[in-house]
């Protein structure tokens, strides 16, 4: 009997210790909260009360401006820009940058970012999200949330932003307040292989090639010629997707109802024909290895729909035979690409820099934003160095009108001039918070239809159920 009591005592002691573990292991609510209290409260309150007045302010400033800058993003594009053009800003403020990079695919980045933002209030100052990047496909989800600071509150004025393209601000403006800034504008173009154009079309001149691709009928005619010559017009089934999906008349989600725009269905129908004719490779999706390989020296594909970032960040890298060798003619097919407007104007993507509510690094964030998205000299330099199309009308017009500017990667073509003509016409009004997974899932479900595994109705139904599984709040139609 007494042993039983002893056992019970010991057991309950263990329960208590385990229960203690339990409460501390609970994510970011108790422990992190406690830590946050000790780090932020201590210097401000205690130090301030015990010592003189002057250090209080210092302490205050130090508490406000942390030393760790946490940046959430989904690839290394911003990291490269930051390291090359804004690292000095961070150094001046004495911050160390902590990069948290998660892939976009399947919504992984959004999941991780959501988790961090939801825990933001209780996180320790140095663990809080300071900067996060958003893409057009899910920009609304974040700009409409309380987790995104007003750019004006960081001390960035309308004057600072005057040179930016209007659409890049409209897309992230909520109730008149700007929520993020971007260093790039993203009009889309058609990048083609000069060597293949010369062989099949008899010319590699962008203006003459454009004349042969200026509408979808002509585009299909060229595709037939490409096939005869042993090439594919496009790499995979989703290559032309953005030219359709970013020319829609309704967003994916209207008042909580999932809507498939007619233009999206047109993509499915057109692509089915394209695939059945062998104008593009079957079962090759965007961002797959096979797709990337088609852009390189061994590729047999005539061209790719790409917007600004795609050319410098993706196409250039994929075109090289040796990624570590200098980027110059002779390395893979560097210099063999050229760009033209293609059959239809469109835009694709775009990355906005947002400051997270609760950040302790407002000063450095403001300076980074100014340097990368407002400073004409820096932005011009970015374009000259990287071929990216920066979000600065003055700088871009200057380069577009410069007869001496030419991109070595594009065989000396001044692609900025083409982009400058297209950038003013971008209309981002038909976006929703759900776009990323709508686009991903729609492409994937329709691939079954292109492959001949299912009919179109089944593919559409698969898409609806997938969306309902992912977003229970949506009302989905029955096909």
């Amino acid at each position: 009997m007494k042993k039983r009591i002893l056992t019970a005592l010991l057991a309950s002691a263990m329960i208590l210790s385990v229960a203690g573990c339990d409460s501390t292991s609970e994510p970011a609510t108790t422990t992190a909260g406690g830590a946050a209290d000790t780090t932020t409260a201590a210097p401000v309150a205690d130090d301030g009360d015990t010592t003189t007045a002057a250090p209080v302010e210092d302490g205050d400033a130090a508490a406000e401006q942390g030393k760790v800058l946490n940046i959430y993003c989904w690839n290394t594009e911003f990291q490269e820009r930051y390291n090359a053009y804004a690292a000095d800003v961070g150094e001046a403020h004495g911050v160390t940058v902590n990069w948290v990079i998660n892939t976009n695919e399947g919504g992984v980045y959004q999941n991780k970012l959501d988790e961090a933002l939801l825990a933001q209030a209780d996180a320790a100052a140095d663990d809080k999200v300071d900067i996060f990047l958003i893409e057009a496909d899910y920009a609304l989800k974040y700009t409409n949330s309380p987790y995104c600071m007003n750019v004006a509150d960081l001390g960035i004025t309308a004057d600072d932003l005057a040179n930016q393209y209007a659409y890049t601000q409209q897309i992230v403006t909520v109730d008149g307040a700007l929520k993020g800034v971007t260093w790039q504008a993203t009009p889309g173009l058609f990048a083609y292989r000069r060597s293949i154009a010369k062989e099949v079309l008899g010319t590699d001149d962008p203006a003459e090639v454009q004349a042969q691709l200026s509408d979808w009928t002509k585009f299909n005619d060229v595709a037939a010629k490409m096939k005869e010559a042993g090439y594919t017009m496009l790499a995979g089934y989703a290559d032309a997707y953005r030219t359709y999906s970013n020319n829609v008349t309704t967003p994916w989600v209207v008042d909580g109802n999932l809507v498939v725009d007619d233009n999206i269905m047109k993509w499915a129908d057109d692509t089915k024909v394209f695939q059945d004719n062998g104008y593009s490779n079957k079962d090759v999706g965007l961002w797959s290895d096979a797709w990337a390989k088609e852009q390189g020296p061994e590729g047999k594909t005539f061209g790719f729909f790409y917007s600004t970032w795609g050319i410098n960040f993706t196409l250039l890298g994929n075109s090289l035979a040796d990624a570590n060798a200098p980027q110059e003619v002779g390395n893979g097919i560097f210099g063999d690409y050229a760009v033209c407007e293609g059959p239809q104007a469109y835009y694709w993507g775009g990355t906005w820099i947002c400051a997270a509510t609760g950040t302790d690094n407002t000063a450095v964030i403001a300076d980074i934003m100014k340097k990368l998205t407002c400073d004409t000299a820096t932005m011009k330099q970015i374009t000259l160095d990287t071929q990216d199309y920066t979000n600065n009308k003055a700088a871009m017009d200057e380069i577009a009108n410069d007869p001496n500017f030419g991109s070595a990667f594009l065989g000396g073509q001044n692609h900025i001039a083409l982009f400058a003509a297209a950038a003013g016409n971008i209309d981002c009004s038909n976006i929703s918070a759900y776009d990323q997974l709508c686009n991903e899932n729609f492409q994937q479900c329709m691939n079954d239809y292109f492959m001949g595994t299912v009919d179109k109705t089944t593919a559409l139904n698969n898409f609806y159920t997938k969306m309902k599984d992912t977003y229970p709040e949506l009302n989905v139609p029955q096909a």
Binding site: M14, G107, V253, M451, T453, D469, Y471, P472
Partner: protein
């Protein structure tokens, strides 16, 4: 303290260690109760709620709905096709796995064959199991991708036409089954070898003297004796198979393509909870998976132990009696 001093003299009378057993298992039981049982019961509880996060508004919706989600789940019927996918891929992997494992185990333990280098073979066969399923799946994804080495070989025979392994139902399922087979046949072989080494050599010898052929020894003596281990292998593999997730998920990039034909139950569950934290519907699916697991395990257990065995015993004794005449 007082208790201890009173308890001390008692010790000399008769030492009873049995109560210490409770003490020794206490850590496990306590951890189990807190970290397993409570969440388990919570899952049951949540399954009666609509509970998810709205992406656009960031709000968490929580509303009691009773059995609505269960009704929806079964009327919609997708759970059955996911269960079907899971079982098909499991069976496709398990049948070759058990056949090959039995064969290898029999050869490796056969006193007649006296194979050399067993240690080497056992290590090599067990090796795939040591690799993380994710890494193994990733490797297969690259091997069988449209531009992977396997397709480079295929292209030589098909005029440059690649075969989209992940684009066809049966090739995608076949790859999942193949991976599960490769990962688990070594493990099963070693389990069965242990079982076969436990078979009394004198019985086998006696059978040999009586003129049994090798296959007779295998089917009529070894197999019935190792049946408990076989049941263990079957049940663990079945439960593992029902929880199949990482291999098909990574192979198809979490999409279960083509046409949801490689989506397993757990992949479905993962879709529900990863984006919208749909713990309501997710809990409901989990409960159903739990029940399916329990029912299938029970069927297997009873089929191979009580009723099934008795019948077979009868048949066997009848045959022996007949042979005796």
């Amino acid at each position: 303290m007082a208790n201890a001093s009173v308890a001390a003299p008692k010790k000399h009378k008769g030492i009873s260690y049995e109560k210490w057993g409770y003490f020794f298992i206490a850590p496990f039981i306590i951890v189990y109760l807190i970290f397993n049982l409570v969440p388990l019961l919570q899952t049951f509880y949540f399954s009666f709620f609509e509970k998810y996060t709205n992406t656009a508004t960031w709000e968490t919706i929580e509303r009691f709905v009773g059995f609505d989600q269960y009704v929806n789940l079964f009327t919609e019927g997708r759970i059955f096709s996911y269960l079907g996918n899971t079982m098909i891929m499991w069976v496709m992997g398990f049948i070759p796995q058990i056949v090959i494992s039995l064969l290898f185990a029999y050869w490796f333990t056969s006193v007649r064959l006296r194979l050399k280098g067993l240690g080497f073979f056992k290590t090599v066969m067990y090796m795939p199991n040591l690799i993380m399923a994710a890494a193994f799946s990733m490797m297969f994804m690259l091997l069988f991708s449209n531009i992977g080495p396997i397709n480079e070989i295929i292209k030589n025979f098909t005029n440059g036409e690649a075969f989209a392994f992940m684009g066809h139902t049966w090739s995608a399922r076949g790859l999942v089954a193949l991976m599960n087979f490769l990962m688990w046949f070594g493990n099963t072989t070693i389990l069965l070898m242990a079982a076969m080494m436990g078979v009394d050599a004198s019985i086998v010898e006696a059978a040999e003297i009586d003129g049994c052929t090798s296959s007779q020894i295998f089917w009529k003596i070894v197999l019935p004796i190792i049946r408990p281990i076989l049941i263990y292998v079957l049940i663990t593999s079945l439960v593992g198979g029902l929880q199949m997730f990482d291999v098909p998920s990574i192979l198809t990039n979490g999409k279960g393509n083509p046409n949801d034909s490689t989506t397993t139950l757990i992949m479905y569950l993962n879709t529900l909870i990863s984006r919208s934290k749909n713990y309501g519907q997710g809990g409901c699916v989990s409960v159903v998976i739990f029940i399916i697991c329990a029912v299938l395990s029970m069927i297997v257990y009873y089929f191979f132990t009580d009723a099934g065995v008795e019948k077979r015993e009868k048949r066997k004794s009848f045959k022996i009696a007949k042979g005796g005449k």
